[in-house]
Subunit: 312 residues, 2 copies
């Protein structure tokens, strides 16, 4: 039996329509302890598309030694049809080697991943912020020359586990540099989930002040401190219309130390459905997909909506 | 080591100060499968007060056959000092028999619990909405005559598991009747957690239209669909300044079918601390209290903040 849906009560402070940028297959599975077979990953992408998710980040061309969970990027893409490798199916590429692999696989969109802090740049990319931007420059340039859409992630936009709170000015500077490289869109990541609503407002205002308007940015919140949906809605009230989320709240086991899962796509869709905001997502189909993936991962989904609707 | 705190970024859309109405010892423990000894309950109340929570609902004088978890109401209150039974320590009373017991125990504040829907009134109170209001009338009258502060809960203000979405007009009517009985404050409950932000706005507007202003209401959200904090912040933006929450997100096991925990006090405090909203709560002390209670319940806290800060 389907449990009650939220009553639709339009909220004039929110946009009419939101694009959900689904990161479950990449940011989600990359941070799970289980390694999922390529066929399951491809089927996950197909099911997500079937549930109405228009934009799905499918995999990552990082060095397999760093992220063994996604070592099968070519195999996953090979299992997808042309649309499954198209402009609405970005893949992560850290460097030119990754871009070469992505181009060989026939992708239509890529994303580079920068950091707002020096410490995380060194931990995640083994180089300074400046050096990482230098590494991205030819990637973005060549990707654009090949006609690809390019996204730039910015990690640690709110706080950093080693450096503490991250000044807005520092984040804005990295964003500006990535836009100057030619990124089509930025994704502002609260990688450790510490941000709150006023901080969201000030970061977006800081970006606007240097000409990076809300139509060029997506937001990417992790729910480590329970703030992901609230912060997302705060960003939507400022005019942002692209939101990163992971089906089922994948990414970081919620039963392990320092849960770090992404905002669950279902919890976001519940909120937006209730507010009459169009997403194109069929919540029932999405919940079924996440329940199916939870079976492959061998643990319940951390999404509250998935658990409530499946009785998990 | 203390993990990073949110950077304080005042949000002008939120009030300067919020009163947290802590319901962990009552609404939380009432819905836990474990029965906690009276001394642990009393110590829980003392520790919550020590963490800066000014208002704490301590127990319930319902028939012990209905809620065996709180059958020791007199014993718990007997273990608390005078302040622990005072005007800032309400107890739940369903009827005159419950009020008699509460008065004998020397309490300073009581709460009655009504329902916005007929089905839930019958399931929870074994009578119609009209009959339950008739039952509450002498309770509220006598309580006020004794100088007690009186709160009126309204359950199922957003949706009902049997009736589906609940019309705002129906909720407003029950609220109006409870205020007419003489309640000092109402608590608007989303008992099954289905509400979304636009619905919050419309309910508060509906109440305002009949003269029930935001200074007379608290909000009470359950996190079943992950909406509790977002809905709470939506209510605060409308001018509400009283928020119900349960330390550690107690109330309904998150690992069982249809998780129904309350908004976790810690997740609320994290959001309000970050926005510079005064609550008087010491988050470290509160997290330590919830971790201690999780030990007594034999399971991790469902609060994201508690889990992140304790590594549970």
């Amino acid at each position: 039996m389907r449990l009650p849906l939220p009553q639709v009560e339009p909220d004039a402070t929110l946009p009419d329509s939101v694009t959900i940028y689904e990161v479950g297959p990449r940011d989600g599975l990359q941070n799970e302890s289980s390694v999922v077979p390529a066929e399951v990953k491809a089927e996950f992408v197909r099911r997500l598309a079937g549930a109405g998710l228009g934009t799905i980040e499918t995999t990552s061309f990082v060095d397999p030694r760093w992220v063994p969970q996604l070592a099968d990027a070519e195999e996953v893409l090979g299992l997808l049809d042309e649309q499954g490798r198209g402009a609405q199916r970005p893949v992560l590429v850290p460097n030119e080697r990754g871009l070469d692999r992505a181009l060989a696989a026939g992708v239509g969109a890529v994303a580079v991943f920068g950091s707002a802090t020096e410490t995380f740049a060194r931990k995640n990319l083994n180089r300074s912020v400046e050096e990482s931007l230098a590494m991205f420059a030819p990637v973005v340039e060549r990707a654009r020359a090949e006609g690809l859409w390019v996204r730039g992630y910015v990690s640690m936009c709110f706080g950093d586990p080693w450096e503490g709170p991250v000044p807005v000015e520092q984040v804005v500077e990295v964003c500006r540099r990535l836009m100057d490289l030619g990124c089509d869109q930025l994704s502002l990541g609260d990688t450790i989930g510490v941000g709150t609503v006023g901080h969201v407002h000030r970061l977006l205002a800081g970006l606007d002040a240097v000409g990076i308007t809300v139509d060029r940015v997506g937001v990417h919140f992790h729910d480590t401190y329970g703030q992901a949906l609230s912060n997302t809605l705060a960003a939507l009230r400022e005019g942002v219309t692209v939101v990163d989320a992971a089906a089922g709240g994948l990414g970081g086991c919620p039963y392990a130390k320092s849960a770090t899962g992404n905002l669950a796509t279902e919890d976001l869709v519940w909120a937006l459905d209730g507010a009459g905001v169009h997403t194109g997502v069929d919540l029932d189909a999405l919940v079924a997909t996440s329940a199916w993936m939870a079976g492959h991962l061998g643990r319940p989904s951390p999404s509250r909506v998935v658990r409530a609707l499946t009785g998990a």
